[in-house]
C-alpha cells in the first residue's frame, strides 16, 4: 500500500523531545523532581544504545523472567466462538505472573546505573508491586511499595508476596484507597527522598521519559509476537487486543506493529458497572483531557477539573487516567478503544478457565470479554492475538466475592459462602439488576 511509508514515521516515532505525543504527555511535575527526571532521561537515552546494557537486559529476560513467552493457539476457545483464529501471547507465564516484570527488570538496571539504592513503586492489583519487590530483592535494594487500602483488602495474596520478598508495603488511605492515591503517595515520597530514591513507575504513565521508557521495556512483547506469528502463520495478525489500566501491556504489544497498517488494534478499558452509571475506569470512553501525575492525558474528572474515582472489579484497571500515547493513538484513531463491564469480564474469566485451562488475571479477562463479542463475527482466517497480560491466582478472592454477591455460588467453597452470608445481605447487589444494567450497555 502506498501509505505504508508515510505511516512508518507516523505512529511509532513519538514522543518529541519534551515528551509529547501530539498534545498529550509532557513533564508536569514539581520543580524538585525536574533535575532528577532530566537525569533519568539521560540515563535511559544512554541505555538505549549501549550494547552491554542490552546484553545484560536480554540475559535477565531469558534466564530470570523466562522469555520468550509462548504464542499459544487457543484452539478450544476458537472453536467455541466459531469465528476468528485466536492466539494468546502468554505474558501470564512470566516470572511473577504478569507482564509487569519486563519493565521492572529494565528500570532496576537503570536505577543501579544511576547509583540509587532505594526503590519505590505504586501498585494497584499488586502485580507491579510484586514484580518490583522481586527485582529489588534480586539486586539487593531497599523497596517501599505504596498500595491503596482498598486494594490491599482485595489483593491480600500479593501483599503477602511483597512482604516475603522483603518489601515494605505502605497502605494509602486517602481518596478511594486505590491506584491513583498510591501514585500520589509515591510521588510525595519521591519529592522527599529525591537523592536516594528511584521511582519505578509500573505503567506507561507519569512524566516523560516514563511513558516511552516503560513502553520500550514492554515492547519485547510485540517484537516476539511479530516473530512468532510470522513463523506460525507466515503473516502478521489482523487484530491485536489488550486490556488497559495505564496501558503498558497494550503499548508493549502494539508499538512494534503500529506502523503495519494492516494490523487492527483494540485496547479494552474497564467499564466497571457501566459507563452510563459513572462508576467505571474508562478514561478514553468516559473522560476528558487533563493533567495528572506528570502528564496530559484523558482523565476521569468533574467539569471543575477535580479527579473522580475510578471503579473496576479489577484492581489493575482501577485508574482514572491512561498513558498519554494511548490518548494520542485514540485521537489519531490508530487504535480502537472499547470498554467492558465487570459482569462481562467475569463471564469471560469463567469461560477461559473452563475452555483453555488458563485462569486469566481479571485485567486480561476484560480483553477476553471483548474477544467473545467480536470473534464469532469474523472469518476463520482472521488472526487475533490477545495479550494474556497475567494470571488470575491473585484474583481468587475478588472473583469468589463477586460470584457470591451475584448468587452464582455453585463453585464456591462452602466455608466462604456460609461465613459471608449473614452479614453480607446489605452489601449484596441484586443479581438481576446488575444483569439488566450490563445488558443495557451492550
Amino acid at each position: 500500500m502506498s501509505s505504508a511509508t508515510d505511516s512508518t514515521t507516523r505512529f511509532s516515532r513519538g514522543p518529541d523531545a519534551n515528551g509529547f505525543y501530539g498534545d498529550f504527555g509532557g513533564r508536569f511535575v514539581a520543580e524538585t523532581l525536574m533535575p532528577l527526571i532530566l537525569e533519568l532521561e539521560e540515563a535511559w537515552e544512554w541505555s538505549r544504545t549501549d550494547e552491554a546494557f542490552r546484553r545484560e537486559l536480554e540475559g535477565y529476560q531469558r534466564d530470570y523472567i523466562g522469555r520468550a513467552t509462548p504464542l499459544y493457539y487457543a484452539q478450544r476457545l476458537t472453536e467455541h466462538l466459531g469465528g476468528a483464529k485466536i492466539y494468546f501471547k502468554r505474558e501470564d507465564l512470566n516470572h511473577t505472573g504478569a507482564h509487569k516484570i519486563n519493565n521492572c527488570i529494565g528500570q532496576i538496571l537503570l536505577a543501579r546505573k544511576m547509583g540509587k539504592r532505594r526503590i519505590i513503586a505504586e501498585t494497584g492489583a499488586g502485580m507491579h508491586g510484586v514484580a518490583t519487590a522481586t527485582v529489588a530483592a534480586r539486586f539487593g535494594m531497599e523497596c517501599v511499595i505504596y498500595m491503596g487500602a482498598t486494594d490491599i483488602e482485595r489483593q491480600q495474596p500479593n501483599v503477602f508476596r511483597m512482604k516475603l520478598l522483603g518489601a515494605e508495603v505502605i497502605p494509602v488511605e486517602s481518596g478511594t484507597g486505590t491506584l491513583k492515591d498510591a501514585m500520589n503517595e509515591a510521588l510525595r515520597d519521591w519529592v522527599t527522598n529525591v537523592d536516594s530514591t528511584f521511582y519505578l513507575i509500573g505503567t506507561v504513565a507519569g512524566p516523560h521519559p516514563y511513558p516511552a521508557m516503560v513502553r520500550n521495556f514492554q515492547s519485547v512483547i510485540g517484537r516476539e509476537t511479530r516473530e512468532q506469528i510470522l513463523e506460525k502463520e507466515g503473516r502478521l495478525p489482523d487484530t491485536l487486543m489488550a486490556c488497559i489500566g495505564g496501558g503498558s501491556n497494550a503499548m508493549g504489544l502494539f508499538h512494534p506493529m503500529l506502523d503495519d497498517d494492516s494490523v487492527h488494534m483494540i485496547g479494552v478499558e474497564a467499564a466497571g458497572h457501566g459507563i452510563e452509571t459513572g462508576e467505571h475506569a474508562a478514561s478514553l470512553n468516559g473522560g476528558e483531557p487533563g493533567v495528572l501525575h506528570g502528564n496530559r492525558t484523558f482523565l476521569l474528572q468533574s467539569v471543575d477539573g477535580q479527579i473522580t474515582d475510578a471503579h473496576s472489579v479489577s484492581a489493575g484497571l482501577d485508574y482514572p487516567g491512561i498513558g498519554p500515547e494511548h490518548a494520542w493513538l485514540h485521537t489519531q484513531k490508530r487504535v480502537e478503544y472499547v470498554s467492558i463491564t465487570d459482569h462481562e469480564a467475569i463471564e469471560a474469566f469463567k469461560l477461559c478457565c473452563e475452555l483453555e485451562g488458563i485462569i486469566p488475571a481479571l485485567e486480561s479477562a476484560h480483553s477476553l470479554a471483548h474477544l467473545k463479542k467480536i470473534a464469532p463475527g469474523l472469518p476463520g482466517d482472521h488472526l487475533i492475538v490477545l495479550n494474556m497480560s497475567g494470571r488470575g491466582d491473585k484474583d481468587m478472592a475478588s472473583v469468589a466475592n463477586w460470584l457470591e454477591q451475584h448468587g452464582d455460588t455453585d463453585k464456591l467453597p462452602n466455608t466462604t459462602v456460609e461465613a459471608a452470608e449473614p452479614g453480607r445481605i446489605d452489601d449484596m447487589q441484586p443479581p438481576h439488576d446488575v444483569a439488566k444494567k450490563t445488558g443495557e450497555t451492550e
Partner: protein, 273 residues
C-alpha cells in the same frame, strides 16, 4: 507597570523588613469561613496572601494541606467560588496582593485564557502552579505574563546553578524558595543552611526571594526574616482550622497566629543575629 506584588515588596524593603506571606485554602472549612479568614488577614499582619485552589490530588502537599483541600471540595468549592472570594475581598482591600496557588488541572479545565481574564478582573496578582516547571512555560506562564499576572516559580534544593537561570527566566513578582526537598508541612532545615541557599540564588537574580516550607512559629519566621525578603507560612495556619472546636474559632486562631508571626517578622532585623 509595577504590580501590586512588586509595589508591596518594594515598600517593605524600604522599611527594611521581610514580608509575611500567609497561605490558606479557599473554601476551607467552608466558603463563608474562609472568606472571613481571608478578610481579616491583612489586619492581622499578612503582607501578601496566598490562597490555595483546592485539588483532589495535591501530590506535592503533606497531610495538612491535603485535608484542607478535601474539606473545601466536600463543601462543593469550585474555581468559580475561589474567584468570587477574591472579588468580595477586593471590595474592601485594593492593596494587599493575592496569589493563587495550586495545581494545573483545574485551571486547564477552566480554560487558560478564560481563567486569566476572570482572575485578572477579580483582582488576582500572581499564580503559583506547582506542576508547571519552566519546560511548560507556554501553557500558562507566558499567557499569564501577557495578562499582567505574575507567575511565581518555586526553586528547590535540587535546583542547582545550572538549572536556576531556566527557573528564573520567566518568573516575576518574587521567587519562592522551597527550603526542603519534600511536601508541605515537613520540618524546616536550619536557618543557616537556608541562608546559604538564598545567597546562592541572589547571585542569579534581583527578584525578591520568599522562603517557605516548615515555618510554624514567630521565632522561625524571625530567623528566616533576617535574610529573606518574604516568609511564607501555610500548614501551621491550616492546622489551626483543622484543630479548632468551631468554624469561628478556626478563623480566630488563624488570625491570632498571623499576629504573632507578624511580630516575629517585624522584629527580625531589629535585634542582632
Amino acid at each position: 507597570m509595577a504590580t501590586r506584588i512588586t509595589r508591596r515588596l518594594e515598600a517593605l524593603k524600604a522599611e527594611d523588613r521581610a514580608a509575611l506571606v500567609t497561605f490558606t485554602m479557599a473554601g476551607d472549612p467552608n466558603y463563608q469561613a474562609s472568606l472571613d479568614t481571608l478578610k481579616g488577614l491583612p489586619g492581622a499582619g499578612a503582607d501578601i496572601i496566598e490562597l490555595g485552589m483546592p485539588f483532589t490530588d495535591p501530590m506535592a502537599d503533606g497531610p495538612a494541606i491535603q485535608k484542607a483541600a478535601l474539606r473545601a471540595l466536600k463543601g462543593e468549592h469550585t474555581q468559580q467560588k475561589t474567584l468570587e472570594m477574591v472579588r468580595e475581598f477586593r471590595r474592601e482591600d485594593q492593596d494587599t496582593p493575592i496569589v493563587l496557588m495550586g495545581y494545573y488541572n483545574p485551571i486547564y479545565r477552566y480554560g487558560v485564557e478564560a481563567f486569566l481574564k476572570d482572575a485578572g478582573e477579580a483582582g488576582i496578582d500572581g499564580l503559583i502552579v506547582v506542576d508547571l516547571p519552566p519546560e511548560h512555560d507556554s501553557e500558562l506562564c507566558l499567557p499569564a505574563a501577557r495578562a499582567g499576572i505574575d507567575f511565581i516559580r518555586l526553586a528547590t534544593p535540587t535546583t542547582d546553578d545550572k538549572r536556576l537561570p531556566r527557573v528564573l527566566e520567566n518568573t516575576s513578582g518574587f521567587i519562592y524558595y522551597v527550603s526542603v526537598a519534600g511536601v508541605t508541612g515537613t520540618a524546616a532545615p536550619t536557618p543557616e543552611s537556608v541562608e546559604r541557599s538564598i545567597t546562592r540564588i541572589r547571585a542569579h537574580t534581583d527578584l525578591p526571594i520568599a522562603v517557605g516550607f516548615g515555618i510554624r512559629s514567630a521565632e522561625q519566621a524571625a530567623a528566616i526574616g533576617r535574610f529573606a525578603d518574604a516568609v511564607v507560612v501555610g500548614s501551621a495556619l491550616i492546622s489551626c482550622i483543622e484543630q479548632a472546636d468551631s468554624v469561628e474559632a478556626g478563623t480566630r486562631d488563624v488570625h491570632a497566629l498571623v499576629r504573632e508571626l507578624s511580630k516575629g517578622v517585624r522584629s527580625a532585623r531589629l535585634t542582632p543575629a
